[in-house]
Assembly symmetry: C2
């Protein structure tokens, strides 16, 4: 297939857990575009060196190589205008940026505090030293210390999800009656959590869990 997506994988190459890769997976599904997944590990920098940088998602679309989930979304919207819109009009696109900021500034740290230790366990052995070193430096504590705070982190996630819960009580998707990129962004963060957590998350969040199922079902995933 001429369309390939390099996606972050655990030791189990079917465990594709990156929140940013999930945004791109849903955006491709939204645009009805098929692709082949190339599982990629943190330390396989050589495998994506052709993209000019060292992070996934990397999308190869025929002769084009695009990296960074946001740039990929813009590329897909511009290149496939006859498929369903990711952003609708300019105002919806602008307000989606607030959803993105909230997701990255608030939701990602809340999720990371819970699942970083679980991800560490599931990683390919070659990735473990890099992951421990980079994450412990970013968080200023050991992975074991992060794990010790799991009960507080789980409570903090529940509290932090209030704006999502409130929105989904009023309407089926963030973008209204059907999912769009605003949904993809938040879904990516929670799919990262659900796929990697050693304990069930969202078990007491029926509205959010139902929305995640509905997003996947919309795209036949």
């Amino acid at each position: 297939m001429s369309r390939k997506l390099y996606e972050l994988a655990a030791a189990d190459e079917t465990l594709l857990f990156s929140p940013y890769c999930w945004r791109t997976k849903l955006a491709l599904a939204h645009k009805n575009l098929e692709y082949e997944t190339i599982p990629w590990r943190f330390t396989e920098k050589d495998a994506i060196a052709f993209s000019g940088q060292g992070k996934v998602p990397v999308l190869v679309d025929g002769a084009r190589t695009i990296h960074d989930s946001e740039i990929i979304a813009e590329y897909l919207e511009a290149t496939y205008p006859n498929e369903p819109a990711l952003f609708a009009d300019p105002a919806a696109r602008a307000i989606t940026r607030f959803v993105k900021s909230w997701t990255e500034d608030v939701l990602h740290p809340l999720v990371a505090r819970i699942v970083l230790p679980d991800i560490f366990v599931k990683l390919d052995p070659r990735d473990k030293a890099y992951f421990r070193d980079s994450r412990e430096r970013a968080w200023g504590m050991t992975i074991e210390d992060i794990n010790a705070q799991r009960p507080a982190a789980t409570k903090a996630l529940t509290a932090g999800l209030a704006p999502l819960r409130g929105t989904l009580k009023a309407q089926p998707f963030i973008a209204g009656t059907a999912p769009a990129y605003a949904d993809h962004i938040i879904f990516g963060a929670l799919q990262w959590a659900v796929l990697t957590s050693a304990t069930p998350l969202l078990g007491e969040e029926p509205i959010i869990a139902a929305w995640m199922s509905a997003v996947l079902e919309c795209y036949g995933l």
Copy 2:
């Protein structure tokens, strides 16, 4: 004038501080609609009894009486379609609901923890007993106890504003190149804070302060 807006006022009737009233004030300005302000205090239930309930904003537009800022916004959008749109398309309107949930679930409590004691000082004497009683019951502590936590509350507001800061680093308004109802909602919460706080807020938030000035300037306020 046949258009009147009942707005929450302090002892000084020019101190109009309700976040919900500010949403309506900006929505009216956005729609180029003039109106007369009727200052109203918490305990003047009789003065708005004609609206069938006891809270402001209450808008009287000719023969119509409308209450609740969200219903007023919908009314203005439907009644004045030839004026600039508050919501643009249905997707923007849906995603604006996430902004509303975040503002009410996260930002309002962060602001309240700082300014409730300052508002108490500024209220009309007739309102003080009602305000103390209702707020102390809601917060489970005295106004004096809330005030004692002001330093922590101020730090929490700074942290909580991250998604707004991130959005405004990327674009001039929440809704893109011009303000719309998504801006009005967040502006209302921060205007409530700025107008009532006994200490300067947002002094170290140049991006947010500039956005607030730009919103007012757009509407000639």
